[in-house]
Symmetry: C2
Subunit: 171 residues, 2 copies
Amino acid sequence: MIDRHLPAGRITADDKEFYKRLSGEAAKGVAVLSTTHRGRDYAATVTDYLSVSFDPPTMLVSVYSLSRLAEAIESAGRWSLSLLSSDQTAVADGLGEPGTPLIGLLDQVPHSRPEASSPAIVDGALAWFELRTVASFDAATHTIFVGEVDWMGRPAAHHPRPLVRFRSSYS
Amino acid sequence: MIDRHLPAGRITADDKEFYKRLSGEAAKGVAVLSTTHRGRDYAATVTDYLSVSFDPPTMLVSVYSLSRLAEAIESAGRWSLSLLSSDQTAVADGLGEPGTPLIGLLDQVPHSRPEASSPAIVDGALAWFELRTVASFDAATHTIFVGEVDWMGRPAAHHPRPLVRFRSSYS
């Protein structure tokens, strides 16, 4: 057993590095988070989201507070999650780089919109959800957006497998 | 494409059922959430947790607000997450039934504790984290507990695979 105690308020760079590795032991389904603000699309590959409730259908996503995406979601109040299938690693990689230019962001990613004003949904996703922010709060470096589902859908035929990230790799 | 619009405030039982199926398309690493309150262990299999920040190491978990586990976490202010490996389906099943009696809950689950007063950690987990609640908030039927990591660890040898849930099955 390799373990480490973190005394509150005295956390070292080594502690953070160890936590980064350990938190990578959590397997996560990969999704694309997207929003539209002032006619511009924002999108990024994410794994930090979850379903919170069935009643009403509610999800949350955790986004780095200083990112353009967090600012855009905050302003737009409307966002989408597209759950990627195992053959969409190219999409995940394409939208997974921090600092990707916004212009032409979705040019290489086939997508559609439930309504003209909706955030983009990635075609071929296992399932997608369009959400309306009902609450948000800050937690350390991140903002947690809680949203109620306004639209949701899936392809007519089920894709057999999800795209999963584990220890920084896809499986 | 099969999709569905949810008009706010007019959500039907059918809508919730459809959401339940669609949210099952999110692949999730399986973990055991545990706390100790007044000398008694509380534990359940969960998938609704995530790492929020590296600085300071922070995680959150979403728990049904009316559950005994949520009450115990609220009172104890201290909880743990053990990320299960692919050979721990028996642990996941054993702690995954709602309404499991509390008495003897962990008798069949090999576990240990970083300190005598710590919540239980499941032996053989890919990684584990002990957290101290720093914030909590309600979202629909659930309570989101945000915690900072006080202890964390992993076995000396890496287990090759995580336990993942997808469409109500393990893989």
